[in-house]
Symmetry: C2
Subunit: 233 residues, 2 copies
């Protein structure tokens, strides 16, 4: 009998608005493996609830006796623990190469997107999380979040330019991983799902090849990502 | 019996100074496959010599009756034609993911590096290529090459920042492709080999994890890249 899987999943004021880009990586990975799970709504300030993970951020996956934090570690855990279910990567070489895409999203895409979304995230947060979010982020940016997001009409131009490697690949193949999506798609897609869940701001031109891929990704797994509460894209 | 392989390889004034980043991708790929080849020095203005390829750039590989242009097309040709020799990618999924890294280098790394190297390339070129190089590049930049490279002390800071995804991966694994190098390493390495062959300008801090990887790559295939005429790194 399979373990019950539990995911601590970042939520906004409403329980069902789940916006974390790293949690979306894990939710897409669980769907890829066909693993049902219970997703527990979690707020930034509920550090006690995930204390067993030895750190203070989600996603945290509890799989039987194992508590795993960090989306990449969770992906490796799922691949190793459920080798008979569809591979997240497509082999060992592909796993190493997916790490590059994972790190490209972490180092390039998310940092460019975060200031664009900052005010909209703040507006959606549970009241008990707002001061925490404002204080931690304003410490990084050195100015009020309202100012950080104020120039997003300019920032989004730079954001679109940064996506050029993804755009180039998606002109040549349907998914980053080839003909069918895999973890190399879930990681960049989760960044767009973060935006969709929390912000009405238009990120992409509709003629951008990334827009078509985003729609294909929203439809994947019977519209898993599309069914989540969010804004039109 | 195996076909004789011939590669048209961009050369500077001296026949043995071969600096093209895209030709270096192919030379590393041929070494990975263990395929000997004859590399013919070729200059930018010798369009007639590669007319059979239907375009005007190198690398061009002639493999028996096949003439293949474009480094990515050549990599796919080698993988398909010599499936019993070591794989350049490590499987079909890995091939699709390597394309992302290929496009990241094409769209992010090379455009940031080209202006840093421009004056040094010009200085090394065969006299018959200089006017062609200057005219085509100055049309892109809209100003003299000397001006384009003048601010390279500033440009290199931005260049190093752009490499952050590569740096992050190389903190976690020895090569982009994992424990041993593959085409996903040759593509970014070839950009650094371009620089090494043509320019004394220091690109990386010696403590950068990318520097250690670059040295490992220089040593690969019995020091193939290290033996090529170039500047100390």
């Amino acid at each position: 009998m399979r373990n019950k899987l539990t995911l601590y999943d970042l939520a906004a004021a409403e329980d069902d608005r789940r916006f974390s880009p790293c949690c979306w990586r894990t939710k897409m990975a669980l769907a890829h493996k066909g693993l049902p799970h219970e997703a527990i709504p979690w707020r930034f300030t509920e550090k006690d609830a995930i204390a067993a993970s030895g750190q203070g951020k989600v996603p945290v996956l509890v799989d039987g006796g194992a508590t795993v934090a960090d989306s990449w570690a969770i992906a490796l855990h799922l691949e190793k623990s459920y080798p008979h279910l569809p591979s997240l990567f497509g082999g060992s070489s592909a796993m190493h190469l997916t790490l590059f895409i994972n790190d490209w999203v972490d180092r390039v895409v998310l940092p460019a997107l975060a200031p664009i979304l900052a005010v909209d995230i703040l507006a959606h947060l549970h009241p008990k999380d707002r001061q925490y979010f404002r204080a931690t982020r304003e410490k990084v940016y050195g100015r009020p979040l309202e100012e950080v997001s104020a120039d997003r009409a300019t920032r989004v131009v730079a954001f679109r330019n940064l996506l050029e490697p993804l755009r180039t690949v998606l002109r040549k193949q349907s998914f980053v991983a080839g003909d069918t999506p895999a973890y190399a798609d879930y990681v960049p897609f989760a960044a767009f799902q973060w935006a969709r869940c929390i912000s009405p701001f238009k990120l992409l031109d509709q003629h951008d090849p990334i827009s078509s891929w985003r729609l294909r990704m929203l439809d994947t797994f019977d519209g898993l990502a599309h069914r989540a509460p969010g804004y039109p894209v």
